[in-house]
């Protein structure tokens, strides 16, 4: 579970998050909201890429508010980015192995694990292929594969289906819905409402840096404030 209270983040005169309070505790939680609502800033703050001006973020009863990103990962929180961040000049195998940098052994078993992880996300490409040669959607899959290779129990996905081929959307849906069975909780930012409503157990709606509403997909669909601010009639 990740819990945040009174989180405020500002960039110059822009208040990206204002006294934001949230709890991420379900197996699949989605964060939605209009552009500029502070969704990615919230992810960046949770994962240590942005330091909040005020507030506290707790994960597994530990205060992670001022923890640098590389230590947040060791707290069990993995993430992907709005734009895919892969190591373009490294092979797919090397991309995955960066996640395993704390593991001493790089034997045959590790090579098999790399193939398994790539297979799990449906990335059927040669492991020695350079990541820079992948398409946009495939890079997103590689990012997810890399995050899964961390063996963490919380995965934050920032717009996983944005800009990907429609055929890949179902692949992402299958991956995300299968993760809770492996003990991985997922929190995602997404603009595809059908996708969100279909897979989420809980939805957080952000508006101008604050949580506007929280609830199940059914509750969010009927919430007057959400309809007015984001979903529309």
């Amino acid at each position: 579970m990740i819990y945040g209270s009174n989180i405020s983040v500002s960039f110059g005169g822009v208040h990206a998050l204002k006294n934001c309070k949230f709890t991420i505790e379900e197996d699949i939680t989605s964060i939605i909201g209009p552009n500029g609502a502070g969704k990615t800033t919230l992810f960046n703050t949770i994962t240590g890429h942005v330091t909040p001006d005020t507030g506290t973020i707790m994960s597994k009863d530990e205060d992670i508010t001022h923890t640098p990103p590389y230590r947040i990962v060791r707290q069990g929180i993995a993430r992907t980015f709005q734009e895919p961040h892969v190591f373009d000049n490294l092979s797919l195998r090397e991309n995955i192995l960066v996640s395993r940098h704390n593991t001493i052994s790089f034997d045959k078993r590790m090579k098999e694990e790399v193939s398994d992880i790539l297979h799990r996300v449906g990335l059927a490409k040669p492991v020695d292929m350079q990541a820079g040669e992948l398409s946009h959607g495939q890079k997103r899959l590689l990012e997810v594969a890399r995050a899964l290779a961390l063996d963490n129990d919380i995965l934050l996905l920032d717009e996983p289906t944005a800009g990907v081929h429609p055929d890949l959307v179902d692949t992402f849906k299958d991956i995300i819905t299968s993760l809770p069975d492996d003990g991985v909780s997922v929190c995602l930012i997404e603009h595809d409402m059908d996708f969100v409503m279909d897979i989420s157990e809980e939805i957080l709606v952000l508006k101008t840096g604050s949580v506007l509403a929280t609830g199940t997909p059914e509750e969010i669909r009927k919430d007057e404030a959400v309809l007015e601010a984001y979903l529309g009639p």
């Binding site: 890429h49 590389y70 892969v86 000049n89 490294l90 090397e94 192995l97």
Partner: protein, 288 residues
């Protein structure tokens, strides 16, 4: 003639170590370090001063590597948050500071430099002739290049390249970018220091002007010609850049013309490489 060829081979070997160490930071690590030549100089001065004060040569050689390495490690700490142009300017400033220290400290004899540096001596035998120095420098280069090659093809090397490609992503996978970058600069500076020691004890004279921007441009040209993130590239680049101007000696040009002609040759080579092979001869990545 053999002595002349041996001289060129020794220079190629020393510049190969220096270029591979620079490529380790710039090509592999994406750290645009314009202060690298200072590590070469620190190595040259450290080894010279130690050996001239009765320290055995091998200890002087290692001392040169370690002092340069520690300086590189320290340089990494304040510059860790910088990248691109800002990092380049900061490290260039570091290079100027080191050169200024060499020029103004009494222990380095300022602009006068230090003449009469002894040739290395191992087990009571002085490595005096060009041939014996060539064998000795080849052995040191072999070990140095082997170690750097192994490091860059290890898991640590993968992390170095990952940070070069995407620092944010590396952090998000639990990589301490500061630790890896500091270690990279330590290793790169260590081997630049080793090259500096070999250079000082071969030329037997050092002065601040031998470790300035002019020399840095020469070493950068080696890795640009050979290509970034390539061992083979750095070594081939060192061979080309060392041998390229040599024919000018034999075509009877006045000495006042030879210097500018050398620079023109280098310029033509660099422009040709940038135009026809932007990644260099064997480059894996482009310098951003």
């Amino acid at each position: 003639m053999m002595s002349y060829l041996g001289h060129l081979a020794i220079l190629i070997i020393i510049y190969s170590i220096l270029a591979v160490s620079l490529d380790l930071a710039v090509g592999r690590g994406g750290i645009l370090n314009l202060g690298h030549i200072a590590f070469f100089g620190i190595g040259a001065y450290t080894s010279t001063l130690l050996v001239m004060n009765s320290v055995p040569f091998l200890l002087g050689l290692l001392g040169a590597g370690f002092l340069a390495g520690i300086t590189g490690f320290i340089l990494a700490l304040p510059t860790a948050r910088l990248s691109g142009d800002y990092l380049a300017v900061a490290t260039l400033g570091f290079g100027f500071i080191v050169e200024s220290l060499m020029r103004n400290l009494s222990v380095t004899r300022g602009a006068l430099g230090i003449p009469g540096i002894p040739k290395p001596s191992l087990l009571g035998m002085e490595i005096a002739s060009n041939f014996s120095y060539l064998v000795f420098a080849s052995a040191i280069a072999g070990v140095s290049l082997f170690v750097m090659h192994r490091l860059m093809h290890s898991h640590y090397g993968r992390l170095v390249e990952a940070i070069r490609d995407d620092k944010t992503a590396a952090k998000s996978l639990g990589v301490s970018t500061l630790s890896v970058t500091s270690l990279t600069l330590f290793i790169a500076a260590f081997f630049a220091g080793i090259a500096g020691s070999l250079y000082a004890h071969y030329i037997t004279f050092i002065a601040p002007g031998m470790f300035n921007l002019h020399e840095l441009i020469f070493v950068f040209s080696i890795i640009i010609v050979g290509g970034l993130a390539s061992f083979r590239g750095a070594i081939v680049g060192a061979i080309i850049m060392t041998l390229l101007p040599e024919p000018l000696r034999f075509i009877g040009l006045p000495s006042s013309i030879i210097g500018p002609a050398r620079q023109m040759l280098f310029a033509i080579l660099l422009l040709s490489i940038i135009y026809f092979k932007p990644k260099g001869l064997f480059g894996q990545v482009e310098l951003e």
